[in-house]
């Protein structure tokens, strides 16, 4: 037991000092808490008369702090107590540099924990709370049985899935062929540096020009280059050092959910690893891989450990493997497969390298991401089968809303994809947007608040199916500006709404969401993680109450979904439905894509 004298060097008490005093007392130490506004002489007199082991001073006021403390140290020296006891100084005005400069044994600035001070008093080294790293990897689909609560919608979805399955069963594409070859690729042998087996004997024959040229001549995509040996060694040293001191924060406060995802994809896997480590440390539960937009329109992947000079990190086995090696064990890792010509192979690679989640939606991929509808449906079907095989739940993103497709049409598409996935034994996760979308702007659905229409989406989906929900991507889309305070704030408020609605996960933006001048920075990622953490702390188990309009909007969305599904049923052909605009029309901003057109074969 130590005797600790606590003295405020202020006219009023510092609440922090009282909390420290309480913590020390609970830890079994004798504490003497002096009143505020005593002179240095009076404090030193108390030290001399009380056989004190440690003195803890606090100073909240910033003005003149250097002079006050320097004077105190001089007097303590003169009285002969400086060498006899430990002296720590804390409070809002204290910086470690100042404390060290003035000769104090420790300085405790803002954010100091009681445990840190107890360690100082007891002469122990402070080690941050190990429970901070005690995060485990959750299954976002656990507890959901995918049962339907709306029989009319369920019946229509069954009809649609039946004709999709009937149409797609004998269809193949180059993407499906590459996925088949990739499935035979032995990842363990490759990791043991025993080569790729026979993969590349046939693989280039199913690729388009850029990968084909790469496999024939070794020529890389013009915006990519290989890392040097020195760079790789440097990365390994960086990772080794950082991993040794790594810890991760938990954002959710008293709730368990929503789990929080952010994206990476600077183009460079090294920079991505740095970004991921910072995101994990500041509390991200999961990270989402963004690949270059040209990757979705290219048949086939390149190979090797490659960096890319523009946005989006190239998918190669080596790139994914390095990123995977850098991840914390608790981090959920999503590799998106949803939109392009490499969808099935992406799922296979994701499964083999060790991803936890993927992303598939043939409606979005063909209506707002440039891929031919016929090709997209065939490839998505095979992707779902691989997602099942590799146990990869996937979100069914509805970003066609950002092009202008109304929510009810995007949701009809999402439910069609999800129903097909469920029938194939896969585990889809619904991904409605929390967004200030074109539909919302045109119809003035958020003129009063950003709450009602977003809440309505969740109400509508929950009235239809028992399935996990992961709003994105990112939440608050089109509400963020380049101003970082505004951007972090709106993200945090949407996160609080998501928590209040009890959804399973959210994808959040950085405060660079609206900035288009270059890659996202680490400070911009930390901005929103900190803001979201505070929003969860603010909300706790409390709730945000939408107005009655949320129920009205929800009913309108549900009715709209049913009408769209009716129309799709009548066509009896999902590809025709996509071309005819039933799930998003040209007038609404959805254009059936052309990449991969004419590549489907019937076998």
């Amino acid at each position: 037991m130590k005797t600790v004298l606590l003295a405020p060097l202020d006219p009023v008490h510092d609440i922090g000092l009282k909390m420290i005093a309480r913590g020390l007392e609970q830890a079994g130490h004798k504490i003497i808490l002096l009143q505020p506004d005593l002179s240095a002489e009076e404090i030193i007199e108390q030290i001399l008369s009380s056989h004190v082991d440690t003195l803890l001073l606090s100073r909240t006021l910033g003005y003149g702090v250097g002079e006050v403390l320097a004077r105190f140290v001089d007097m303590a020296d003169a009285a002969g107590v400086r060498d006899r006891i430990k002296i720590g100084i804390g409070g809002m005005a204290i910086r470690q540099e100042l404390a060290a400069e003035l000769g104090f044994d420790a300085g405790f600035g803002p954010g100091t924990t009681t445990e840190e001070v107890i360690c100082f008093v007891e002469g122990r080294q402070y080690k941050p709370d190990p429970t901070r790293s005690n995060k485990s990897k959750p299954d976002l689909t656990a507890g959901y049985n995918y049962s339907y609560l709306n029989p009319a919608i369920a019946a229509k979805l069954e009809t649609i899935s039946s004709f999709i399955l009937d149409w797609v069963k004998d269809k193949w594409s180059p993407g499906v062929e590459r996925a088949k070859l990739r499935e035979q690729w032995d990842v363990s042998r490759w990791r043991n540096r025993e080569g790729n087996g026979v993969l590349f004997e046939h693989y280039p024959g199913f690729c388009s020009e850029i990968p084909q040229k790469f496999y024939e001549t070794g020529e890389l995509h013009p915006k990519t280059r290989r890392f040097t040996k020195q760079e790789v060694e440097g990365l390994e040293r960086y990772l080794e050092e950082t991993k040794a001191r790594m810890s991760v924060l938990k954002l959710q406060h008293t709730r368990k959910r929503p789990y929080v995802f952010n994206q990476y994809g600077t183009g460079c896997p090294f920079m991505d690893i740095g970004h991921i480590l910072a995101s994990e440390a500041w509390g991200a539960d999961g990270v989402v891989h963004f690949d270059p937009s040209w990757g979705a329109r290219t048949e086939g992947f390149l190979d090797g450990f490659l960096t890319h000079q523009e946005d989006g990190t190239v998918i190669t086995p080596a790139n994914l493997n390095r990123i995977h090696m850098g991840l914390e064990k608790s981090t959920l890792w999503q590799i998106r497969a949803h939109r392009g010509l490499n969808t099935p192979e992406t799922v296979v690679l994701a499964g083999k390298i060790g991803a936890d989640l993927t992303k598939i939606n043939f409606c979005y991929g063909s209506l707002a991401a440039g891929t031919d509808p016929e090709r997209m449906v065939v490839d998505a079907y095979h992707s779902m089968l691989y997602a099942k095989e590799y146990r990869l739940p996937f979100d069914v993103v509805t970003n066609e809303e950002l092009a202008g497709v109304p929510a009810h049409k995007a949701f009809a598409g999402m439910l069609i994809v999800s129903d097909l996935a469920i029938r194939l034994g896969a585990r889809p996760i619904l991904q409605p947007l929390f967004a200030y979308s074109p539909e919302v702007m045109i119809h003035e659905l958020m003129n009063d608040n950003y709450i009602d229409f977003n809440a309505a989406k969740i109400y509508a989906l929950r009235s239809i199916i028992n399935a996990p929900i992961w709003p994105g991507a990112p939440i608050g889309f089109l509400t963020q500006t380049e101003d970082r305070v505004q951007s972090a704030m709106t993200t945090a408020l949407h996160a609080a709404l998501a928590a209040s609605l009890g959804v399973d996960a959210i994808s959040i933006a950085s405060t660079d969401e609206a900035y288009s001048g270059g890659p996202i920075s680490v400070p911009a990622k930390i901005d929103t993680l900190r803001a979201v953490q505070e929003s969860f702390r603010f909300l706790g188990e409390a709730h945000i109450t939408p107005t009655d309009m949320a129920v009205t909007y929800s009913q309108q969305i549900t009715e709209g979904i049913e009408q769209v599904l009716n129309q799709v049923c009548k066509t009896g052909d999902i590809v025709e439905a996509l071309h005819r605009g039933l799930l998003g029309s040209r007038e609404e901003g959805a254009y059936p894509g052309r990449a991969g057109k004419g590549t489907i074969e019937k076998r």
């Binding site: 540099e97 050092e241 810890s247």
Partner: protein
């Protein structure tokens, strides 16, 4: 008007190193009245907000003075 705030993320081994990097950066730019407003260290590095005061209260402010008295043109 009064101060320059710089917030960034440093790859570093502890908070103290991060603080010193920020103070060094500000001093390297020629500022003398510098401080660290906020620091949060987690595994891979530190998020630091540094401040360089240009003017303290009761200083003579260049943005109020005429150009011939050392003020802004």
């Amino acid at each position: 008007m009064d101060a320059l705030d710089v917030e960034t993320f440093f790859v570093c081994k502890n908070e103290e190193e991060g603080r010193n990097l920020m103070l060094g950066l500000l001093k390297g730019w020629g500022f003398k009245d510098v401080d660290v407003v906020f620091a949060q260290y987690e595994g891979p590095g530190a998020r630091i907000r540094g401040r360089a005061y240009i003017y303290r209260p009761a200083d003579q402010y260049a943005w109020l003075l005429p150009a011939d008295k050392g003020g802004q043109k």
